[in-house]
């Protein structure tokens, strides 16, 4: 049974015409059902709990990469046997990685149900799919002057304020024992206090600024503890408490894709 979820605040807007086209294609493959909307991560979490009880075999997120990552963030609510599908409405880096190049391609992939397994890791009480970025939300006196990162071994690193990213290296089997890479770069210009949180996040995690800034640190490990996360926000707008653990939990998810070396289900 296929269940579709859609973020009502998604940046990927679907007009009525496209919605009808998508439903028509889904119906051709007999995998059509109503799109259920959610307004927040909390609502999605509640929705997934309900879907989990209704023996949905596949949960499909309709939207963009941001929406996909919101679903992954709340993946703890989904049974391990449930497959995750992605119906991208706009250009998508994640869909490309799954070899899905359009919404039509995605519909065909959903019908074929070829599964790719991927291990994802936790950050605090959520999960992240490939990379999650953390940076200071505001430049003011409340920002900690240093950030401490401790690895699973006894390595402790003290950094100045920085933009930090945690990347899931799971697909590179060489790093099975140390599947998460942490990188830290010098932060960009401070964002003014008057900007809205959304504007700040957009500015902080602007694609250009993510790749710029001098490299301060880069290493791999299994688990990280990050201290000094009080004023840090991630690229999904979530704030964190002082100490954040990354990689404490892992979960194998079953993704519908068109990749080779997949098993049918």
């Amino acid at each position: 049974m296929y269940k579709y979820v859609q973020n009502s605040h998604s940046a990927a807007k679907i007009d009525e015409q496209l919605t009808t086209k998508i439903h028509t294609e889904l119906a051709k493959h007999r995998i059509d059902s109503q799109f259920m909307t959610f307004n927040s991560e909390k609502e999605l979490s509640a929705l997934l709990e309900t879907l989990g009880k209704s023996s949905a075999t596949t949960i499909v997120v309709v939207g963009d990469d941001y929406d996909f990552n919101i679903l992954i963030g709340t993946i703890g609510k989904i049974d391990s046997d449930t497959a995750i599908g992605y119906l991208p409405i706009v250009k998508s880096k994640i869909a490309k990685n799954l070899q899905i190049h359009s919404w039509l391609d995605a519909v065909r992939a959903l019908a074929q149900r070829k599964i790719t397994e991927k291990t994802i890791y936790s950050i605090a009480n959520r999960y992240f799919y490939d990379t999650i970025y953390l940076a200071a939300a505001e430049s003011n006196d409340s920002v900690p002057s240093t950030i401490k990162i401790r690895t699973e071994g006894n390595l402790e690193l003290t950094l100045p304020p920085a933009k930090i990213s945690f990347e899931n290296l799971n697909e590179d089997h060489y790093f099975n024992n140390a599947p998460i890479q942490v990188s830290a770069h010098e932060p960009g210009e401070a964002v003014t206090k008057k900007s809205s949180l959304k504007t700040k996040i957009i500015n902080i995690f602007d694609k250009k600024s993510l790749d710029q800034g001098k490299l301060l640190l880069s290493l791999h490990s299994k688990i990280f503890n990050l201290e000094g996360a009080d004023n840090l926000v991630d690229n999904f707008g979530r704030k964190y408490k002082n100490i954040v653990t990354i990689g404490k939990y892992n979960k194998k998810i079953r993704l519908i894709s068109k990749k080779t070396n997949q098993k049918s289900n």
Binding site: G153, N154, L155, T158, L159, L215, L216, L217, S218
Partner: protein, 121 residues
């Protein structure tokens, strides 16, 4: 011991994806790796790797290193054991000991160390 320059530093590699501790970072603890390690910050601890280690110009390290090869361009207090080679640049400082199949020391390097070269490690 000769004063030949050692080419091919880790820091010259494009897309270096090993262990990197920059000049602004203060680190303590042990590093166990199968990759190359580049330390350019302040570090107290031990490094054990099957790859290469480079102690950068800005680095101040106290501890021990066991690696395939070691390049010292900053300050190191401790023991170095390398399977292949140890190179101490003209701007490097070593107090402690170094043991490797081959050891090269550039003019200008500061040494207060026991050197043991030419033997299989």
């Amino acid at each position: 011991m000769t004063s030949q320059s050692n080419k091919g530093h880790i820091s010259d590699l494009v897309g270096f994806s090993g262990f990197y501790i920059g000049a602004e970072v203060v680190a303590t603890g042990d590093i166990k790796s199968e990759e190359d390690v580049f330390v350019d910050g302040s570090y107290k601890g031990s490094i054990k790797t099957t790859g290469a280690v480079e102690i950068g110009k800005n680095a101040k390290m106290t501890g021990t290193i066991e690696a395939r090869s070691v390049v010292i361009e900053g300050q190191l207090k401790g023991a170095v054991v390398a399977v292949d080679s140890v190179y101490i640049a003209g701007c490097g400082e070593l107090s402690g000991s170094a043991e490797a199949k081959s050891i090269n020391i550039d003019t200008g390097a500061l040494l207060k160390a026991q050197i043991d070269s030419g033997k299989n490690v």
